[in-house]
């Protein structure tokens, strides 16, 4: 006979530690994946952007103005066929669109929008590439610099955030599912094994003590100390107590019987 309560609590403690450990490992795995994915994806677009920047700056270094480089339009349209690119566009320093991979958008006045975006991200005068967020997209903004080291405009590569966020979401689902399966499986094993261990190693001690107390309560006196195999601490304290309680109950019951006093509730 054993009781779930202690082994259940013990199992609960082990399961809590299991959950904590799996959580930390899963977080670690996710953060590393997210970091690597971000690096791989952005470096891909940076390569493309750098290539285009080289082509455009070659034209600038020939002495042409940014708006005069008509071949850029064709190059932007061609490059947008690359995977995962929304748009490519070139603006001047005031944010006016000069070229756009979607020619229909050239008429749109995005000046205010870009200006606000750039200002809020402190990149109006930046001389190196930077990635900023714009609604559901990332914008890789690369400065275009002429051979006098003057920034003349920006090349903006727009790609959807889903390129990064979708695999991240899928990884979260993957990890949650594996976490759940391993956690549930592990918890079941913990509960079963702990119950077995507890029943085998601990429940005996407590059962022995319980059984030794029952005759005292029932009024069945024993002359000898009970034979119990428990830890020395328990034995050395239990035996003197048992003797004392036995002696008191025997004497009190005997005297009560002599005086014809009604029996105890335990009789």
């Amino acid at each position: 006979m054993f009781n779930f309560s202690i082994s259940f609590k013990l199992s609960g403690a082990i399961v809590s530690i299991l959950a904590g450990s799996l959580l930390i490992i899963s977080f670690l795995n996710y953060f590393n994946f997210a970091k690597d994915l971000q690096i791989f994806v952005t470096s891909r677009f940076e390569v493309l952007s750098k290539d285009l920047k080289g082509t455009i700056e070659y034209g600038l270094n020939l002495g042409l103005g940014l708006g005069d480089l008509k071949t850029i339009q064709e190059i932007l349209e061609e490059k947008t066929n690359e995977q995962d690119i929304n748009n490519l566009l070139v603006t001047n320093n005031q944010g006016k669109m000069l070229f756009h991979s979607d020619p229909g958008k050239l008429k749109d006045d995005m000046t205010f929008h870009w200006y606000k975006l750039f200002k809020s991200n402190n990149i109006t005068s930046m001389m190196s590439s930077v990635t900023i967020e714009d609604k559901d997209n990332y914008l890789l903004v690369t400065p275009l610099i002429n051979n006098f080291n003057v920034k003349v405009g920006s090349l903006i590569l727009s790609y959807p955030q889903a390129v990064i966020k979708q695999p991240q979401k899928e990884m979260i689902s993957f990890l949650i599912y594996r976490f759940a399966v391993v956690f549930v499986g592990g918890s079941i094993v913990v509960f079963l094994v702990t119950r077995l261990f507890f029943k085998h190693f601990f429940a005996n001690i407590l059962r022995i003590l319980e059984e030794s107390l029952q005759p005292l309560l029932a009024g069945h006196s024993q002359d000898d100390d009970p034979e119990i195999e428990v830890t020395p601490d328990l034995k050395n304290s239990f035996i003197p107590f048992h003797r004392k309680a036995r002696k008191l109950l025997v004497l009190l019951n005997a005297e009560a019987d002599k005086m014809n006093i009604r029996g105890s509730e335990n009789d």
Binding site: I6, S21, F33, I261
Partner: protein
Amino acid sequence: MTDSDKQSSKRGRLYIVAFSVFLILAASGLVSFLAMGEFERVLVPELDKKSYSLGTSVQGLIIKSVGYGIPVDKLNGVREYFDTILNENPELKYIALTDKVGEVLFTSSGFPRKEVSAFFRLSQNTENKSVTSGTVDKFFNTSLPIIQEGTLFGFLHLGISKNFVRNRIKEIGYDILTVLLITFLLTFELLLLTFSGLIDGPIKQLVARFKSMGKGRFANTVNVSVKNEFGRIHQQLNLITLEIGRRLQDIEQACSSSNKRLPENIAEIAKDNTIAYPDSIQEIKQERLIEIRGFVFLFFFSAMFPASFLPLYIGELYQPNLPLSKELVLSLPFALYYVFTALAIIVGGPWSEKIGRRKPMIVGALLNLVGYVATAYATDLIMLTLCYSTAAIGFGLVMVSCQGYAVDNSTPDKKASAIAMFWAGFFSGTLCGNGIGGILAERVGYSNVFFIAAFFSLVVAVLMARLISEKKISDDVQEPESFFPNLLILLRNARFLSIAFGLSIPAKIIMTGFIFYLTPKFLALQDVSQSNIGRVIMIYSLMFVFAGPVVSRFFERLVTNFKFTFLFTLLSGGALIWAAWMNNIIGLVIGIAFYAFFRSSCTASSTALILEVCKKEVDAIGAASVIAVASTFERIGNILGPILSGLMIAYFGYQEAIAGYGLITIAGGIFLMLSFFRHWFFFGRKISNNLEGA
């Protein structure tokens, strides 16, 4: 034949702990293994895409050149250009340009000609003028055709190492191994806490109750709130108490109502025992008796989260508005942290003696929480110093009250092991905290690590509030110790002072100044990641937890404490000088490992040495008081460490500072030796006889 239940329950405990550790490690390992497979599946196509993007860029340049009429095998500067691309894109292992039939024309440096060339010849298909991808040997190969005006001139090949993603995954493998080690210790400590709360504590309560009732005290019942075996046994004991009281009451009332004298044997029972009538029996609440080790582990685990990055965090807030060198200014918050910790210990000790251990523990944990949250929001050095010092007060309070609790709740013969339990929890906690802190900082940022640490402090405070009781199991009434009179007594012992100034103070200077202050800054300058900085600092605690106790137990049988302490002190100093001489990351890491190994090995012997040379003082004021005064000297070292580091780095540099610490350690050992020989010389006794307690 069955084993005695004592052996049986010990074995049972061992099996449960071993099983739990194995299961948790296996489960964590399995999740990581599955995740790594998924990483490869997602990240490899990304690499392919990048390879393609790079390839089209290089392809465009080559096509332009061919368009100018340059034959593809006569292009200039191709190798240098390919090498530049490779340097900028570490995942690429080679770039090669071949002619139409696959003969290699140009390659980047380190091109794996043997493995790959044959593949080019066999696989190239002049009919297929599109981009193709495939695996060859250890590489993912992308081939792009060089076509100018419909004519195929050759192929451009880019190769990415298959192991690139695996190698990136390996980096996180170190983090996972660190977490698994920490999980192992965490599981062990928390299971000890659980056993203490669920099994050991209730058994101690049962034993205490049996003892009390065995002495004839049947005046109390216990409020039974749990319905497990322990609850049922307590309920049976309650019934026995009630039955005895009721029987006595019945007999006394019967005698009183019939005007008879109480029988002699019954009168004797009433006189020799404490029996209460059922109406007068007092119900007392069960007190929980829980080992303090688990709480110590949890608290110091979180308190050590910032250890691996704090100097760097402080550096970010630095503003040059004080007329002191930058390094010295940056060391001041550290030094003040240890000042406030020491003050909290000195004040908190007597306070917790007076009002009990529980309240100071909880107050300490809450102060630590507040301090950490405020530190996360600090915007300048002054604010950071104030906030971090608040956490220091909490740290000191928890430290002194937990130690006091451990001593209060142990019998006189078990006090030493109670203190050892406290330190075991402390070192395990700091070991795990150092490792996890670095990993967390790299992923969530410095400020968020303070929030996580604060959360753990809150958990500890709540657990302490719920689980810790004030009831002492020891009946000894302990008078609060008088610190200053004890200090004055020990100041007259020259050898004690030589140990304090030669060993204890330098050891703590190096712990706070070198391990926790200089090392993170030095490694950060070498672009070592935060996770790796945490792992390096872990080595220090690792040695104290695992190596030191084993080595010291081995050597204590072979040599005297003095010789052992002296020799290992010199060796630990030598390790630091060697690290300085190497002047690189590997040297530093190995130097820390050896320093910590030697230092931890002689910690127990140096404590034993203190007790040996202070025999008279131990008889007068007790061993605990002697050790308490010795600990106070160590705190001087804690405070001096960061300041000394700041000065040495500012005026000499990192390498010289590390060498300086080595020299301080060796000088301390020599000072100790000279002091002991002086004592031998003037008092005419051999050191060995003296130490044997003649």
